[in-house]
């Protein structure tokens, strides 16, 4: 196996690490922030399920990204992932709720433009539509859950101590489900562009057979887990103050709404079920967990009367839809030029 592959893969791993640090905080930040679940417990559960989701559920979203642009050279894939990572880093520094998906989509489009390839506008439109649908859907789910849970808490007459236990169990399960959905939905952002150049072959572990792509996704999952363990605690402490004031039940609703949305946009099985039922299936596209969380929080805010909603955050989200892909596409375009002309590397064929 060529060692250069791993050198080029490093940008994807870096992107995975930053995704683990940022997005995993969305999955269990509220649970840890509200002191309902210990950080170590949450990080262990999240890491395990992120890898599980990446390996066994990540193929659908990855296919959509490949349809947008098949990055066919390793050096090109390296730069696509690196530009996305740099764009994410920049946007995080400017406190904009950033999406890794928007960054990677921008980078792929940048690569397409640089190489002179046509971008599949149908796929692009499909992906862009999910950026808007994702927070709206998450908000709708959180509103429904909010009213259901509120009614249940009032009518169920559960003792406060028992309610605390149920919430704790719920948060742990939501953390596991959210992590699985995050792994399945977002692994394409991290490793999707390296799939075509993957040197891995299928292996058998007992009765389970893992394809080359699944091994690649496993490595990506490890990078995300690394981000979870090394940096997400800091993210929860520094930028998680807004979510810490939530009650544990609201925290659960936010996490579960976000997880459902991520799962809806990642599950191949669900897509097939919807198609069999004659319903229009949701596209399998990597979506932003940060924006899903914002959608859920705003949904609950509206359900509570709308007084607590910080509407300016919506402007920031919309700004992110436009600026993130433009920034990452620009970085990718400029850097591909340097890579090809200064370092004499082949970035496409």
């Amino acid at each position: 196996m060529d060692i250069s592959y791993f050198i080029f893969l490093s940008s994807g791993l870096f992107l995975g690490w930053s995704l683990g640090a940022n997005d995993a905080a969305n999955v269990f930040g509220t649970a840890v922030g509200s002191k309902m679940v210990r950080f170590k417990t949450a990080a262990c559960i999240a890491s395990f399920f992120i890898i599980l989701g990446a390996v066994f559920g990540g193929s659908g979203t990855s296919k959509t990204l490949t349809e947008l642009g098949t990055v066919n050279e390793l050096a090109g894939a390296f730069m696509v992932a690196l530009s996305a990572a740099l764009a994410v880093y920049w946007m995080v520094n400017s406190s904009t709720p950033v999406s890794t998906t928007q960054a990677i989509v921008g980078s792929i489009v940048g690569w397409n433009i640089y190489c002179g390839f046509d971008t599949n506008t149908v796929i692009l439109a499909k992906i862009v539509s999910t950026w808007i649908i994702c927070p709206i859907l998450s908000g709708c789910i959180s509103v429904i859950l909010y009213y259901l849970i509120k009614a249940y808490v009032k009518r169920g007459k559960i003792h406060l101590i028992r309610q605390d236990l149920y919430t704790r169990i719920g948060l742990i399960l939501a953390c596991a489900f959210g992590s699985y959905a995050l792994g399945a939905n977002n692994i394409a952002n991290v490793m999707g562009v390296f799939v075509d150049a993957s040197p891995f072959h299928a292996v058998n572990i007992g009765k389970i057979q893992l394809s080359g792509t699944q091994i690649l996704f496993f490595i990506g999952g490890l990078a995300i887990s690394c981000g979870v363990f090394t940096y997400s605690k800091k993210i929860i402490k520094t930028i998680g103050t807004g979510v810490m004031s939530m009650s544990p039940i609201i925290a659960w609703i936010v996490v579960i709404s976000q997880s459902i949305v991520l799962f809806l946009f990642a599950s191949q099985g669900l897509k097939e079920i919807m198609m069999n039922m004659g319903l229009a299936p949701l596209p399998l596209v990597p979506v932003s967990s940060s924006q899903a969380v914002i959608g859920a929080v705003i949904g609950i805010g509206i359900a509570k009367g709308g007084r607590e909603v910080n509407w300016s955050i919506l402007g920031k989200v919309a700004l992110g839809w436009v600026t993130t892909p433009i920034i990452s596409a620009s970085i990718c375009f400029v850097c591909l030029f340097f890579l090809e002309n200064v370092f004499n590397l082949v970035v496409y064929h």
């Binding site: 808490v153 028992r162 544990p248």
Partner: protein, 219 residues
Amino acid sequence: MFQIKLSLFSKTKSLENKIDLFHDKIIDVAMTFKRAITVFLKEQRSEEYRKLCKQIKNIEHDADSLRRDIENKLYSHNLIPDLRADVLELVENLDRIINRFDEVAYKFYIERPDFPQEYHSRIKELCEQVSDCAENMAIASRAFFRDFSIVRDYSQKVYFMEAESDLTSGKMKEAIFDSDMPLANKLQLSSIIGEVADIADIAEDCVDELLIFTIKRDI
């Protein structure tokens, strides 16, 4: 895993029982206090009254150990992190009501206030009002843990009974100071009436806080 789950559920159940028992103690102490004052007015510092005072003291001791246990468990198991401070304050305040019942009963035992016959019905009425107030407070607090939608109903009863007890104690004090008894007696009776009425005031303070906690408890 199954064992961990079972242990979690049994720990939760045990704490729920302790909180329920703690509320039972408030109702117990209020009922015993009512009986004790009736006995005192009839027999003064009799053996029966001494027994009832001892019973109140035991309830107070039990409530103290339950309170410590509840506080300890809430902290050591890191339970209800968002409402823990509120619950601890609530339990402390409820304990203050029990302590005050004990203090007043003991004050009757030590000072042996001599209430003229014409005031007996009023002092009984006052004791009933403060006991009702404490009982309703206990029910409101229990509802906070299980069915917080009815907290408001019982809180209103506490407010009502507190206002009634203020009226009764005011009228009694007025009548006492209008009477011909020696000033020392007047002051002693007024002070003891004030302490009985204080029980309702503490319950009212508790309920004020409880209503705020209830707003926070609603998701």
